[in-house]
């Protein structure tokens, strides 16, 4: 899923390759084969597995499954939006401000990626669970799930926006200032358009990650139906001997992810055509 968004930004810029070596066919051939084995085939298997009227009818009619899918979609969307805001703010502080310990903060950003997600879940449970040292107990609530997802998706937007902010010429902002623009106008009219594609790409990745997250939410979610998200439903269905229904839920998640990535890719393309 992630490849769609990343590919969307990387492949956009140039047209045909400049030169065509003799081995031109081999590289693309191997790449496509590799992708087919790792991505195409499993997805195809999932589709064929879920090609069953009963499985889809289950997804559609089972109230619990439907509500879980809705919750998953909306919480992933919330994660994407929140990350877009906090990620840009974090990237801004790390690029534009100087403060003691900046390098440490910068390396902390990657911690959620480095940590095994179940450990992240454990950490969050220790801090925000029953017996929390700071007196905040969000275990077994949807807020807890939101915390866990925010934690594991933290780096996406920040790391996507940071290099773009770094590459922005300060002269451009000075030019806008000389033309009478206030700081907020400069941000809205000059900076935001420049970082929007990276922000959307990061948010899309965060969305996709939130949609499929399992390890970090399983502990703080408290294993109750109210806090379940898509991946947990799939695990339960497989455990209870309903692989076809599980495949259908999985495919539903994939479709959601693809739809959001597609929309964001289109928006990104529109915005960054001339950057």
């Amino acid at each position: 899923m992630a490849d769609v968004a990343i590919g969307g930004t990387l492949l956009r810029r140039r047209g045909a390759p400049l030169r065509r070596p003799v081995s031109a066919g081999i590289g693309p051939g191997l790449s496509v084969l590799y992708l087919s084995l790792l991505v195409g085939l499993p997805v195809a298997a999932l589709i064929s597995k879920s090609a069953n009227v009963n499985a889809w009818s289950f997804v559609w009619h089972d109230p619990h499954t439907r509500s879980v899918l809705e919750f998953t979609f909306f919480i992933a969307l919330a994660i994407a939006v929140l990350n877009a805001i906090t990620g840009v703010a974090l990237a801004w502080v790390l690029v534009r401000d100087d403060f003691p310990g900046k390098r440490i903060v910068n390396s902390l950003i990657d911690l959620p990626f480095a940590l095994p997600t179940i450990v992240a879940g454990l950490v969050l449970l220790t801090l925000y669970g029953p017996g929390s040292p700071i007196g905040v107990n969000v275990a077994a609530t949807r807020v807890g799930v939101l915390f866990a997802l925010l934690f594991v998706t933290l780096p996406f937007v920040t790391r996507a926006v940071q290099p773009v902010l770094l590459s922005l010429e300060l002269d451009v902002e000075d030019a806008a200032a000389c033309l009478g623009a206030k700081p907020l106008t400069i941000f809205r009219r000059i900076i935001l358009p420049a970082i929007l594609p990276a922000t959307l790409t990061g948010a899309a990745l965060a969305f996709a990650r939130a949609l499929g997250e399992y390890g970090s939410v399983v502990l703080i979610g408290g294993n109750i139906p109210h806090t379940e998200i898509g991946s947990q439903v799939i695990a339960n269905l497989v455990e209870n001997g309903a692989p076809q229904a599980a495949a259908a839920v999985g495919l539903a998640l994939i479709v959601m992810a693809l739809l959001v990535l597609l929309v964001l890719a289109l928006v990104t393309r529109r915005w960054s055509r001339h950057a």
């Binding site: 030019a175 200032a177 000389c178 009478g180």
Partner: protein, 324 residues
């Protein structure tokens, strides 16, 4: 709009970009701030624009103190070396930016942008994006953008520094005409003495954060106050311990009253001009002389010939070369 800069100092860490600089720029004039890279000239321009804050000193525009006025309220047009184009906007939107920010009426924006694009010869490229323009076109767009808000003061920071020689030559002549046409006060920063000499009314030479000299191009060329200004404004060579311009040296085959003997080491033909390098003997640096090709032919000079060098009757300026 006249500018007075009083006792301006600015440091970046240990680096002193400006040390107690005071200069005046007269209304309606085209002033060049000339000096070597890292000499502080861009810092001076940025402080005048309000893009940089001075550690000490004041900036007066038309007599009023603007030291603490934000850049956006100074009504100054600024052109950057690397264009600073708004890459996600069309040429038209780039030029219209300042007017839109000022919430000018739509009809006025349209008329003004059209007028400016005509002025910079970019009318046909209005719907293009900056990435689709050449360097020279981008800089003309940047100029139109800066002029859109009708600034009384136009500041250009090495405006042609990123362009190739031919385009630079064209644009500098064009800038001079533009300055006369739109009738603003213009200050531009350059490290190219030829550029400064060619188009400016006044030159301010800045080196190591200090003003070395200011005046008309002729004054600076003919009456430099020190070796640095003399060396920076044009070619120099040493003859008999004096710093002179290579075209002020007279070459003769016979020893005159004040002739320095030297042997011709090299003759370099540069079209109209021929450069003669002569060796005045041990302990002295080679002397460079600029002559016309005809002059060389008249004297039938050859490498190895003995000649006598003297400073011509009315040298532009004689300076005693610093020892060492």
């Amino acid at each position: 709009m006249s500018i007075q800069v009083r006792n301006l100092s600015k440091s970046f860490g240990d680096f002193h970009a400006l040390r107690n600089v005071s200069v005046d720029m007269e209304s309606g004039q085209l002033t060049a701030v000339l000096g070597p890279s890292g000499g502080g000239k861009s810092t001076l321009l940025r402080i005048i624009a309000g893009l940089e804050e001075a550690d000490r000193g004041t900036v007066l525009i038309d007599g009023s103190d603007v030291t603490n006025v934000a850049a956006r309220n100074r009504g100054i047009g600024f052109v950057f070396q690397h264009y600073a184009a708004f890459t996600h906007m069309t040429v038209w939107d780039n030029v219209a930016f300042g007017l839109k920010v000022a919430k000018a009426p739509k009809g006025k924006i349209k008329a003004r942008v059209g007028e400016l694009l005509d002025l910079v010869h970019l009318s046909g490229l209005a719907p293009r994006y900056p990435a689709e323009l050449s360097g020279g076109q981008r800089q003309r767009m940047a100029l139109a953008r800066a002029l859109a808000v009708e600034p009384a003061l136009l500041l250009l920071d090495e405006p042609f520094g990123a362009l190739d020689v031919k385009v630079r030559q064209e644009l500098r002549e064009w800038l001079r005409r533009l300055h006369d046409e739109v009738n603003t006060t213009t200050i531009f920063v350059t490290h190219d003495q030829e550029e400064a000499m060619e188009i400016s009314d006044q030159i301010i030479v800045i080196n190591e954060g200090r003003v070395e000299q200011s005046g008309t191009p002729d004054t600076l060329y003919d009456r430099p106050v020190n070796d640095f200004v003399m060396g920076f404004l044009g070619p120099v060579t040493t003859l008999g311990g004096n710093l002179v311009r290579p075209h002020d040296i007279h070459v003769s085959r016979t020893a005159g009253s004040a002739g320095h003997p030297a042997r011709i080491e090299r003759l370099v033909s540069l079209g109209f001009e021929t450069r003669l390098v002569a060796d005045p003997g041990p302990g002295a640096d080679p002397v460079t002389v600029q002559l016309t090709r005809n002059h060389i032919h008249e004297l039938a000079l050859e490498v190895g010939d003995q000649v006598y060098l003297s400073v011509s009757a009315h040298p532009a300026r004689l300076l005693t070369a610093l020892e060492g």
